[in-house]
Symmetry: C2
Subunit: 268 residues, 2 copies
């Protein structure tokens, strides 16, 4: 059975996403480690978060796909994010003074943390936060409800994120992308000349000409100076379709760098 790596430790939202494709899972501790496991073929698939509807892109995933690995997107998985306040079994909500979690979870619960006047502390993952607060009755962790079972904690409060419609999109990475299904999406990365952000306009014009819908556009610094960007675009269609082949050829002519991350079925 195909081994699937995910951004661990156990009890993260990444595990929840990975469980949707396999039971044969291995937890790895960083996003580059997950990508590396697929590149070296130790795992058939690797599952990492790519964007959150509130916090935006996961920079390390985008940067690693652009600069460090040659991987394809085989599938996308969208998971609703419900943050819970987890405490020790004998602790009371009124005793809590300090809260621990991953940077993104803390950011997504700022209103709640501010109202409760908790001191906030950052950890490497939501699961790490659960480990850290063990036996500390004045401390709470932000994590998903499943983590409470894994780490022997109890749920003291539910859905504590500031904005209720909170979703994270995960990508399943592999050496090959997905075959045509008729309801597909293609992801690409490109950059344009330093002083000519107007080229972005020309490239968006190509999609316009072929009447193709973009579903995402993100800019990331190319790491070569302020104002120097890579663009991450997702659009409807499969790279084997005729009009998509034409679009990709035209973009290739107008950009100074183009990387095709692959085509895969749209999440339903």
């Amino acid at each position: 059975m195909n081994l699937v790596s995910f951004l661990g430790p156990s009890g993260t939202f990444s595990q929840e996403a990975a469980e949707k494709i396999s039971d044969n899972l291995v937890s790895l501790c960083t996003i580059p480690a997950v990508m590396d496991s697929v590149e070296r073929k130790n795992c058939k698939y690797g599952v990492v978060p790519i964007e959150n509807s509130i916090e935006g892109p996961v920079g390390l995933t985008l940067d690693s796909l652009a600069h460090n690995f040659n991987l394809k997107i085989f599938k996308e998985i969208i998971i609703p994010i419900n943050h819970c306040l987890l405490v020790n079994p004998e602790a009371n909500l009124s005793d809590i003074t300090d809260i621990y979690s991953h940077n993104q979870a803390i950011s997504q619960c700022q209103g709640y943390i501010f109202e409760k006047k908790f001191n906030q502390h950052f950890t490497l993952s939501t699961a790490k936060a659960c480990e850290l607060i063990k036996n500390k009755n004045n401390c709470a962790a932000i994590a998903n409800s499943k983590a409470s079972t894994i780490y022997g904690l109890k749920v003291a409060d539910k859905s504590i994120q500031d904005i209720k419609n909170n979703k994270t999109r995960f990508v399943v990475l592999s050496k090959e992308d997905h075959e045509y299904t008729g309801f597909d999406k293609t992801s690409i990365i490109f950059s344009v000349d330093d002083d000519r952000l107007g080229q972005l306009y020309e490239i968006l014009g190509i999609f316009n000409k072929f009447n193709v819908n973009l579903t995402k556009i993100e800019s990331r610094p190319s790491k070569e100076g302020l104002g120097n960007y890579l663009f991450f675009i997702d659009f409807q269609g499969h790279r084997n379709e005729k009009h998509v082949i034409k679009i990709l050829n035209e973009i290739n002519e107008k950009s100074i760098f183009l990387k095709i991350l692959g085509s895969y079925p749209q999440f339903k």
Copy 2:
């Protein structure tokens, strides 16, 4: 003399930026607190980071400007970022096992941390990391060299960031933007219809028509669902110039939301 708030505590790169405009500084502990001090007129100016050439946008600054405050950009300041490894005076580099710093600083030094096999820990600021490692001889902090003097530490290693050309852009926020100088930039935020990312193409076409250069384009989730964006654009020109007035009027007609963050002199 005008009081200026900055994202503290003392010894951060934000202080280095704030010192360029005033000696009358007050350190506040969060980005929203800095903005609030200006909105309530407790401070004339507030200095916060807005983007880094490697890590990209500072999400909390962009989101707070878009959603929570009505502030203008009065000035921009660009500071080169040189991360140092700070240790206790009696500590040796070879004894270090654990490293502490702000999320962004840790991200920017991943190569160095990986090579040295340090365990990494996140703190609220680079300065907080300096406080935390005090008297712990196996711990180091990543911060600027100035923090070593403030916190009684020594510089064990210099310029440890992965990419040497690392700059952060700060904005000076105020109730009013800056008058015309002839070498100006204007910052705006807009959004387009959910299902019509093609409208972004039409809006970029306006800049193209007036032959105006964009210096920045960033997308941020609007917080209303995946694929729903706010765009942050900077372009050359002052909002009181005739052609810029026309551009802003046309964008206003084509977008569903437009916020003008103001015009200010380009950093030299």
